[in-house]
């Protein structure tokens, strides 16, 4: 799918560049705490669990479930209402905000805990967003 123009564009920082380089290359990259082994998000070069700088980047499966959402009914630049603003829970544990594509934007179609998979969606040459769609075969 292509995105409507006008959507707010994220600007990577030194701490988040790996994540945005990852989505550009079709990989959903997370970090894992070196002490506890627990994955976390959003990116930072140390563990929010223990403070250790010993962390590693790894590729997430791209599988997730729908944790919660709203369906916005008012106009916003870059979006056609009604559209869902969702939070998904990744298979690895962390949650992230996203949009659900290839799916009617209705309460009937958007069922909590439904299985989803990542749908990388190019915004421009540098930025690709990790959107999600209903998992195939689910």
């Amino acid at each position: 799918m292509t995105l409507e123009p006008g959507r707010p564009r994220p600007e990577p920082t030194p701490e988040t560049k790996f994540f945005w380089d990852g989505t550009k290359n079709g990989k959903l990259l997370l970090q894992r705490c070196g002490d506890t082994g627990k994955p976390y998000f959003p990116p930072r070069p140390f563990s929010p669990y223990t403070g250790t700088r010993n962390v590693e980047v790894f590729e997430a499966s791209g599988r997730a479930t729908l944790h919660s959402y709203v369906i916005h009914h008012r106009p916003v630049p870059g979006f056609k209402p009604p559209y869902a603003i969702a939070v998904v829970e990744l298979e690895e544990g962390p949650r992230m905000m996203t949009n659900i594509v290839d799916c009617p934007q209705t309460p009937e179609a958007l069922v909590l805990d439904m299985p989803l998979e990542v749908a990388f969606t190019k915004m421009d040459d540098d930025i690709t967003l990790a959107l999600f769609r209903p998992a195939k075969g689910a």
């Binding site: 959507r7 707010p8 564009r9 994220p10 600007e11 990577p12 920082t13 988040t16 945005w20 998000f41 959003p42 944790h67 919660s68 959402y69 709203v70 369906i71 916005h72 009914h73 008012r74 916003v76 870059g78 979006f79 009604p82 559209y83 603003i85 969702a86 939070v87 949650r95 992230m96 905000m97 996203t98 949009n99 309460p107 909590l112 915004m123 967003l129």
Partner: protein, 383 residues
């Protein structure tokens, strides 16, 4: 030495002369209008004030200079709409420590008319700008309700039960001449109002108004010399979690609430059954439910029935949001000041919808989207 319950009191409290649409005042004047009213309430002049707190970067100096105050203590804590609960807590500590004797806390916000307002863009390099803004949120109505469907699923909360929050608060607002919306509404009215961000409709979202409020605090010892009935601060609590609602650790409960609320009760040495009156910042209809549960007034998942059965309405056993709340009274953008003002009125015995014999009131605030929290316990009696 640790601060004792009732060591500091509120001796001046007032809102702006007008509330709602105030197109003839810039934001700074809303602060000043409320501050002048609070000083009149306490019988004070600007030269009597030696501490100033208000929300945000560079704001204490703007407000102090505008009002002609030379403070020796300032606080610009800005964690959203509950910042004033934190200001009360910090001011009490400052008075206890001897840093200042008479502290003024102000709020003014041109939320509706937008005359010189505080800008609120998420910067594209911030974590919100990178990991939330690209997905289409447009202000609190799209972000604050993000966790609601998860809460409703976990506890089996129906749309009707979530609508009842607004219905009950309108019952309180009907008794308040200053409330923006006073006509009675039904659950059906709420569920037929315009959809804003499913699952929430217009009547489950707060107002957007102009207005302000101010508080003046001093030691309990000095409070006895003031013309007003002192509102003693028995306890307070504060915490923050995250600016990103998508990252709150539990979508069915606020960690910041769970820290701030119990700390205020612990300081005050109170049980829930001691509380006569309660304010829970209601930017949206789910907040009173989260607040009742996170503060421990009811068990997990019990708030829906507690409200449905009428416990929080006029005549109920736990009067809640008795000014009509952010849903029906007023909401400038940072409503916490108005929750505190109503708690002060209730313990003074001067509220439009006065609850009989209020001795102890709790004002609980939220900042951002479950981002921060502050709780203040007030009483008209010094322990």
């Amino acid at each position: 030495m640790t601060i004792k319950p009732g060591e500091v009191a509120i001796v001046g409290a007032a809102e702006t002369t007008k509330l709602g649409a105030i197109p003839d005042m810039a934001q700074i004047m809303l602060h000043a209008d409320a501050a002048l009213n609070a000083m009149a309430d306490a019988g004070l002049k600007p030269s009597d004030i030696d501490g100033v707190a208000c929300v945000g970067q560079m704001m204490p100096q703007q407000i102090a200079h505008y009002l002609g105050i030379t403070p020796k203590w300032v606080d610009g804590t800005g964690v959203g709409g509950c910042s004033f609960m934190l200001h009360v807590r910090h001011a009490a500590a400052a008075i206890h420590a001897g840093y200042a004797k008479t502290i003024l806390i102000t709020h003014g916000e041109s939320g509706k008319s937008r005359i010189n307002p505080i800008p609120r863009p998420p910067e594209p390099q911030s974590l919100n700008g990178q990991f939330e803004a690209p997905f289409g949120p447009m202000g609190p109505p799209t972000l604050f309700p993000i966790p609601v469907l998860r809460y409703m699923k976990k506890y089996g909360v129906t749309h009707e039960q979530m609508a009842m929050v607004a219905v009950v608060q309108r019952e309180w607002a009907a008794k308040n001449p200053r409330a923006a919306f006073r006509d009675p509404i039904t659950v059906e009215d709420v569920l037929n109002s315009r959809m804003i961000a499913y699952p929430f409709r217009l009547l489950q979202c707060c107002l957007v108004t102009d207005g302000g409020g101010a508080l003046i605090l001093t030691s309990a010892e000095r409070a006895k010399d003031f013309p007003t009935k002192p509102c003693y601060i028995l306890g307070s609590g504060e915490s923050v979690e995250t600016t990103m609602v998508s990252q709150m650790e539990d979508f069915t409960s606020s960690r910041a609430f769970r820290v701030a609320g119990p700390e205020a009760f612990r300081m005050a040495g109170l049980k829930h059954s001691d509380v006569d009156h309660l304010m829970i910042y209601d930017a949206f209809a789910h907040l009173p439910m989260y607040g009742l549960e996170d503060l421990g007034f009811v068990g997990r998942g019990e708030a829906k029935d507690f409200i449905w059965e009428g416990n929080t309405r006029p005549g109920g056993k736990l009067p809640l949001n008795t000014n009509g709340g952010g849903l029906s009274y007023t909401h400038t953008g940072m409503y916490g000041m108005f929750a505190l003002q109503e708690s002060v009125r209730q313990v003074r015995g001067t509220a439009p919808a006065q609850v009989p014999n209020v001795k102890i009131s709790v004002a609980h605030g939220v900042g951002g989207m479950f981002s921060a929290s502050g709780t203040v316990v007030l009483s008209n009696q010094q322990p």
